[in-house]
Structure formats: C-alpha cells, structure tokens
Symmetry: C2
Subunit: 236 residues, 2 copies
C-alpha cells in the first residue's frame, strides 16, 4: 500500500516553512505542498484557519488527518513517524540532546532577532505601504548583531557542522533563519569567519534542495518589492 | 552498580528549574541538587560559568560528565536516557507531538509573558532597589492577559489535562510558568473557569512534589521582599 502523502502548508517567505520544505525533500517523505500566502493574509482566514490550524500560522501539516503546527514539533513528529535519515536528529553521542539544546535556544534568540529585523526592514513597510522606520531598523539591527555573535560563540566550533561532521536539523533551521536578514540585504558575514565557513558548508551539503527553495524565496521577495515600489510612488 | 546521580543546577525562583525539579522527584531519577542563586548573580560567574554551562542560565545538568542546558532539552534528554513514567511524554495517540506543539508555542508566548511580568513587577525593582515602574508593569500585564486567554482557548478543553486524561510535561511546564505572576499577587483566575479547573487538577495530581517546591519558591520570594523593603526604606 503506498504511503498517503502528508499535506504541507507553507510560505517560502517564512524561515520555518523553508527548513521543513528542504527537510521533507531531502528525506524523500511523500508530501503535497499547499502554498498559503502570508502577504495576502491567507493564514488568517477561510478554510486554513477553520479546518487546518487554530494557530493562524505557517507552516502546518495534516498527516492522515492528524493536524499539527509549530515547525520544530512537526520536525520531531516526522522524525518519529516516518523513515528519516539518522543524521538530521542523531542518537549517537547524545546528538539529539545537543540538537534540542540549540532548537530551544533559537526560540528566544535567532528566531526573535532574525524575524524582528525582517519585519522592521521589509514586512511592516510592505504591509503599510511605507518606507522602513529607521530607528526601528536600527534597534533590530543591533539585536541581530549581538545574536549572531552569540550564535558563533556558543554553537560554532572547528567542526564542519554544529554538532559534528554531519548536518543536523539545527544547521538547517539556523541557515534558514539567517537567510531572513541576508536575502533582504543585511551583510551577515563581515568579520565573522566561523559563520562564513559554516554557512558555506551547510549550503554545499544541502545542494539542490536548498538552492531551489532559496531561489523561490528570492523571487517572491523581488516580485513583492517591485509591487511595493509602485505602491509607494503612487502615494507620493 | 548503582546509577550515578545527575547533578542538577537550579534556582526555585526560576519556573523552568521548578518544573524540572518536580519532574526529577516525581520520576524518581537520582539527582544531586545544586542551588545557584540568581539574585546573587551566581549564574554569571565563577565555576558555574566556566565549568558547568556557557549559557549563564539556570537550570543546567551534568549527566556522567555530559553537560546540558535549556530546560526542555534537559527534559527530553531525561525522557530518552532514564526510566521515566510514560505519561509525561506519551507515545500513545501521537501524544508526544501534541506535547511538543505546546512546548514550542510556550517559548514565544507563556514563556515571554509570564517572565516579563515577573521581571517588571518584581525582579527589576529588587535588583535596582526601586519601586516597580507602573507603565512597564501595565504593558506586561496586558500582554499576560492576552496570553492567558490564548492559552485557555488553544490548549484547554473539557479534558482533565492538556492532552487528555493524564498529566504530561506540558501541564507541568505551564503551571510553573503561570505561578511566576501568581505568586507575586497577580489574579490569574478571575473569569477564567477552564484555567481554574485545569490549575486545580494539575496541582492535585502533582501532590507533595509540587507543594514542597512551591513552598520553597514562596519562602524565597517573601524573604527577598523583606530585604527589598528595608533597602528601599533606607534610601528614603
């Protein structure tokens, strides 16, 4: 009996959606991708809100009718319920505990800093059809600087990936998070050698899966920016 | 060969420390409790910072020399490595995925709102030997109201506990988080019937383990408050 594909609701503008998309593809888990447009507010209304997730967020899944939100909870669910390559969440040398340690830390640090910067610099101006508020961007940028320094100091070493020689979900989540500011022009790498080396290693390891999703992300950003410029010029 | 106890570094003033303390006791996991005083800044200096955790936070553990921070990562580590009653993190009916969903959500919601209120109303005034800033407390209180409403709507139902008839780590983490504002005088229960019913059920189920840790928490708060009053009156 063929496995029924899971339904995966996502928007490539969202870092957690991209991480799960890449994970699903790289792990060969059968899935049906259902795009939900954050910019059009599709996560807030209609069937998605009423029948898919009460959280009004992307990503979400439906696995044989079992509905689940929160991307990292979805990752752990898939790691338990599907056939997934061991390196993403390794049992060896207590690797799972180390991956978990990062995934908790990120919630109060990388998740907040990368999202705030993206919102202040890009999303809020887009939705309000204005220019970015310089002071808010400045505050967000300082927080981002501190957080990237902490990330380098606390989680990167001379090893190729965060918890050793193999890529894990910690690396995948982190690169997608860092791409939020990076893809809208923030210089992530200036004087951060360890971060640069790690970023290149992760990108190389993820290969075509990362490349495809990132290019969709980039296209969506540039297309929205074009519309945004026109909206602003019409107002003036 | 007897199991070597884990070393558990904690402060009862911290909600995640209390949740783990109760979990360790209730699960009969052998442990040596090492108190680290947040009010004295012991988490920021000395052997704790240099040899126990690079995160400068409580709680932390050392398990046969394996050092781990982030309380929820520690919970999952113990659930994997020790003999732990199944109900805390149940495999049945995909209960683990539901527990995980809450534990992710809490990081950006309950964790933030309960901690902010505690800091503005109690910790910042204590450390700075001042009275609480009314505007800051007001902002924190509004955020707390919204978050407790969301918690009730999204996670509580007619069932006894969050994911069914048995208590899980989601309930334990949630009650300890709610106790941060509650134990410093915030009225958590006004017009929240579902929350009140759930809170009483969890407290009853945890029995003496909860009672003992909560009473240590309360004593520490009241003792610090006495010193704080004296410090303020000396300044005037």
């Amino acid at each position: 009996m063929p496995m029924q594909p899971i339904k995966f609701y996502y928007d490539v503008l969202n870092q957690s959606s991209r991480a799960l998309y890449i994970f699903l593809e790289a792990s060969k888990i059968p899935f049906e991708a259902v795009p939900i447009s954050l910019l059009k507010g599709e996560h807030l209304t209609g069937e998605y809100r009423d029948k898919v997730t009460r959280f009004k967020k992307v990503p979400a899944i439906s696995d044989h009718g079992f509905q689940l939100s929160e991307s990292v909870a979805i990752f752990r669910h898939l790691a338990r319920e599907k056939l997934v390559p061991e390196h993403w969440y390794p049992r060896k040398n207590l690797g799972r505990s180390r991956v978990d340690e990062y995934l908790e830390w990120r919630q109060r640090n990388m998740g907040v800093a990368c999202t705030d910067y993206f919102q202040q610099k890009w999303l809020v101006p887009y939705l309000q059809k204005t220019k970015p508020n310089e002071r808010s961007v400045d505050v967000a940028e300082k927080q981002l600087e501190r957080t990237l320094n902490d990330f380098e100091n606390l989680f990167l070493s001379s090893k190729r990936f965060m918890i050793g020689d193999n890529i894990s979900y910690a690396d995948l989540m982190a690169i997608c998070e860092i791409d939020q500011p990076k893809y809208i022009g923030y210089n992530t790498f200036a004087s951060r050698n360890k971060l640069t080396r790690w970023y290149d290693a992760v990108r190389e390891e993820l290969g075509p899966y990362y490349k495809q999703v990132s290019s969709e992300f980039e296209n969506k950003l540039r297309k929205a920016e074009k519309g945004h410029k026109e909206a602003i010029s019409l107002k003036q």
